[in-house]
Symmetry: C2
Subunit: 345 residues, 2 copies
DNA sequence: TTTTAGTATGCAATCGATTGCCTGATTATT
DNA sequence: AATAATCAGGCAATCGATTGCATACTAAAA
């Protein structure tokens, strides 16, 4: 059985003894076509079950109202919220969203980006994979005159639009809060330092310590404590130190913080009294654990909207070559029980 | 500043003094072109930074290796997992994914579906919105010879491929488990009954009661207890009954179950001893609450993969008009502390 | 009545890649 | 040496919609 052909403007034109151009104009409500004809065409189109072929239209018009999104993982709270936020805005503008996930792999990210370039999307919105490599693929995007917005995890040296969280500031506030609660030895679980956001969070941590005259202790900083499991491992190590920390800032994620909490609970260490815990991301579960976990909310859905708006307001048309802008969103510290000591400073 | 043109096969052809057709063939590695020429074209294409125009190619070839996905909410654990699973498979096949969310609204769902028809996608994968209406839009999909797969929340009377969970079975097992744990008055928090999955879960509940000779008590069934807040409200009502339930099966979601748990904790009702709680979906947080919540895992990521594979194996080519198939996945009851009584039956 | 303006519509090129068919050149076959 | 076979490449139509330009027709102005 052959694939039956779909009705085109030519079919409509033939049926009505019109030229295809008139049908096209009628359908796009051009003023150059008579009202009666317009109505007739519309009616016939409906009858014949016509649906425009977007590929043909976009090809001819030389633009594709589609935005490509590349994220490390689609099913991660932060990213799926970003996507939801993006969709909310792009939907209203009649744009489509093509979603790809890099699975944190550089090669796959490159693949996805190339596929999106092929698609001639109007814009690519990307948060780079943990496995970083060169960024020729991003340069390629620019070379093909496709707008590029980086968010959250960005390649800083690349001169593009960026929407980021003020990680350093948030981190600074979180650590300051811990200090205010009277914690004296504050450990840091940090992420891969070749990713900007983790560098920034470390900066914030260091700045807060300095600001309060606290010493910087190498043994209290654990690299790569990224997942719940790694967070737990790091915690065990930290607690075995001759002088263990009295607070742990899991700057990588709430999952990591959860690992910390589980180890503490296992060992019968009282949180927040003997150990303060602060996570990052405001995952839904942080509200539910006992005690609930202090964390940093990144306004992810609204960040998605911001990104989309940035495209529509600044980049969709580019009359003049716009100067890439960096939008920084200040995340919010959500203080919960895991850091609220009864004894106060 | 005008948008600079991207290099096309014509540009390459001109540079090499070849016909565009030869360039096209060379790029698609056709045997009709000399190896030396092929190499030359490839090299030149690279030099000139050529990227194929997928719109033109797809238009000519009359197919678009893209799959459209419509879900109620992108940032809901179940759906984002489905999408991740889909992407995993479609990526390998070189297909793109266009994602839309209906926000549980019928009108918006219709909009999304139409946009996808315009795009001439190869397949539409959909889970319908809570706000149901007619399903002309789905019929439209079929009329335009676009493959359609419904999953999870499906319109049963529409003869399409479907991938569903065996909700009734899972629900039956959950309630049976409660009975085995010695609970005697088991309440049900149910979802909108015009959505198939919620009907099925109720069926399973009823079947399990009957199967064990338990009476069906209207006052123990609460409609529309869908969110955490509604779950809490329903729980308060249930607990105020002259004969309150000793177990609550929140068949709508884990969020609902969480609402139940919070009310119980507030009122100092011991879970699982005085009140058993079972949720649905295996949201990550169910493992973390105290006590952890018994729930039903839907294998969402793997379900996504199943859906995509269904398309590639059965529908991508349709030699013969294939008979729509229904794939039913048996979810798994995850027994946790919220239903494990020390006193056993 | 002729000119002008304006309206509605048609013609044909175009977007970029693909592909059936044809041709010229080279090699193989008898 | 003549014919057939093979290879490499070119020509031109095609996918479906859009759009600049041309044209036929009507109505208004001179």
């Amino acid at each position: 059985m052959k694939r039956q052909k779909r009705t085109t403007i030519y079919d409509i034109a033939q049926r009505l003894n019109l030229a295809a151009s008139s049908v096209s104009r009628a359908l796009s409500d051009s003023p150059k076509v008579n009202a009666a004809t317009k109505a007739l065409v519309l009616k016939t189109a409906l009858e014949m079950n016509y649906q425009q072929n977007a590929m043909a239209s976009n090809l001819r018009k030389g633009n594709n109202p589609t935005i490509g999104v590349v994220v490390p993982r689609i099913n991660q709270n932060f990213f799926s919220n970003i996507i939801a936020g993006l969709e909310e805005v792009t939907y209203k503008k009649g744009y489509n969203l093509i979603i790809c996930q890099s699975n944190e792999l550089h090669a796959r990210e490159v693949d996805c980006v190339n596929a999106l370039i092929n698609q001639h999307v109007s814009c690519i919105i990307i948060s780079i994979a943990a496995e970083t490599g060169d960024h020729n693929h991003l340069q390629q995007v620019l070379d093909h005159h496709i707008r590029l917005i980086q968010f959250d995890r960005v390649v800083e040296e690349l001169d593009t639009f960026k929407v980021i969280n003020d990680n350093e500031r948030a981190s600074f506030e979180a650590v300051t809060h811990l200090i205010e609660q009277g914690y004296k030895r504050i450990a840091l679980l940090e992420g891969p330092q070749d990713i900007n956001i983790f560098r920034q969070r470390k900066e914030g941590y260091l700045a807060a310590l300095k600001n309060n005259g606290f010493p910087i202790l190498e043994e209290l900083m654990c690299e790569n404590a990224w997942t719940k499991e790694l967070g737990a491992v790091a915690t065990v190590q930290l607690l075995n130190l001759p002088e263990p920390p009295d607070a742990i800032f899991a700057s990588t994620s709430d999952f990591s913080a959860l690992g910390v909490l589980e180890v503490a609970t296992d060992k019968g260490i009282s949180v927040p009294d003997a150990l303060g815990i602060c996570g990052y991301s405001n995952e839904p579960f942080t509200e539910i654990t006992s005690p609930s976990i202090t964390t940093v909310d990144q306004y992810s859905v609204s960040m998605g909207k911001t990104i989309a708006n940035l495209f529509f307001q600044e980049m969709e048309v580019f009359e003049h070559s716009v100067e890439p802008k960096i939008v920084s969103i200040k995340p919010k510290l959500i203080v919960r029980k895991s850091t609220q000591r009864k004894i106060s400073s």
